[in-house]
Amino acid sequence: MGGDDPIVLEGAAKHFGAQTALHPTDLVITRGQAALLAGANGAGKSTLLRLVAGLCRPSQGGVRIGGRDLQRTPEARAAIGLLSHQTLLYDELTARENLHFFARLYGLDNILERIDAALVEVGLSQRQDHRVGVFSRGMKQRLALARATLHRPSVLLLDEPFTGLDTGASTALHRLLREFRTTGGTYLLVTHRLDEAEGLVDRLLVLERGRLQLDESLQDDLDADALRARCAPYLDVAP
């Protein structure tokens, strides 16, 4: 187990009262890996993702990001970008104001240049001074992508990121994730739509009732049918 692997879970578990959302789990995701986290509803995917993001505290065990304990070193969160089906944006602010706020929150330098580049990257330069509340779902998700990557994280956590995206936005997200990997980035993708994960992942993790039941390396070019076949025993879906 490398000391500075991007994502390390050491016996991490999460209980909500008497309910166990995630049983003690050991997991190492190495630099440049792209893992798909699959599982039926209530399997513990979101809990695991929130533990890795530092959004909830493990009931036992620990989580390390880039070798740093997430609970003891709050600065470790700077390495994480989160793109969820929710945009994590403020509807009352404009696209530029949203990005400016997050840039200040992360203490970034060259804020204006970064924001300009991010807006160009997601194709929202023309709408930068419009309030996010009037954006379409696809535009909001593109801006959310800019927000999640503005601080150039080394780890991307993706929770159903394709929800509500039109074809153009979905293609742009695919392209960005491929580019992210080529630059050494690591990501953990949670999605129900296995067809969207096609060609994007090289590792498959399957959770069932809070336990990691399957952990295997994949060929990059594995298609959706092959993914479904591997997940089927745990997802109650036809292979």
């Binding site: 600065e75 700077a78 929710q86 403020y90 602010l93 309030r131």
Partner: protein, 225 residues
């Protein structure tokens, strides 16, 4: 970025959003004005009655108006799960508390300043020097309300019955500060001596500092699921 810098970034964002929507300030101001108006018509509040119930009416209006504002202080964060983005940012999460607390303090001071002329008008007061110490009581009383109220607003944010829970948590806890605010305001309206006012100022100052420090320490645990 520094702790204070992040807190100020959150404060600026909240003020910017409020400037656009007026979702928090407008209901708070109208609520206070309505309470003052209702009491003005319900009782004849000139003279002796003013000293008896005027300060209580004023501070009760502020406390209940603060519940409206505090309840909304995390509403923007609930929408689109934006709170997750705040909690994901590196550094001490106490900065989120401080930014929100300062925002609540500013909104409370704003409604107090906006409603003060109406209080003077409805309650037949003559504007004068008494306003200066009253502004000090407004500042300290609002700091007490904002310090403990922001923590409870964060705690109740993820709960289904948050509208009910917030007053249930806040009202008993704010009672000592509320009593001091009412008594200090009564003293000021009666042109009381500064020596009598001092213990109330000290009590409010200590309350605000203690609960701000405690809340900064507890916020991370209060805001997590």
């Amino acid at each position: 970025m520094s702790f204070l810098g992040r807190a100020l970034a959150i404060l600026r964002k909240d003020l910017q959003a409020e400037w656009r929507t007026k979702e928090r300030l407008s209901p708070m101001v109208f609520f206070v004005l309505l309470v003052l108006l209702v009491f003005n018509f319900s009782f004849e509040l000139g003279g002796a009655a003013l000293r008896e119930i005027g300060p209580g009416v004023l501070w009760s209006a502020y406390v209940f108006a603060s519940l409206l504002g505090l309840g909304r202080s995390f509403a923007d964060e609930r929408e689109n799960d934006a709170l997750d983005a705040l909690l994901l940012a590196p550094g001490d999460r106490g900065a989120v508390y401080l930014g929100k607390m300062l925002g609540n303090l500013i909104f409370l001071l704003a409604i107090e300043l906006l409603s003060l002329p109406f209080f003077i008008l409805f309650f037949n007061l003559s504007p004068g020097f008494f306003l200066v110490p009253l502004l000090g009581i407004f500042l300290l009383g609002s700091a007490c309300l904002a310090s403990v109220g922001t923590l409870f607003a964060a705690m109740s944010n993820n709960m289904r019955l948050r509208e009910l829970l917030l007053p249930l948590l806040l009202l008993p806890m704010i009672l000592p500060a509320l009593i001091s605010c009412i008594e200090a305001t009564a003293l000021i309206l009666a042109n009381g001596r500064f020596e009598k006012l001092l213990p109330h100022l000290q009590m409010l100052g200590v309350y605000a500092v203690v609960f701000t420090v405690l809340s900064l320490m507890l916020f991370e645990y209060a805001i997590e699921e």
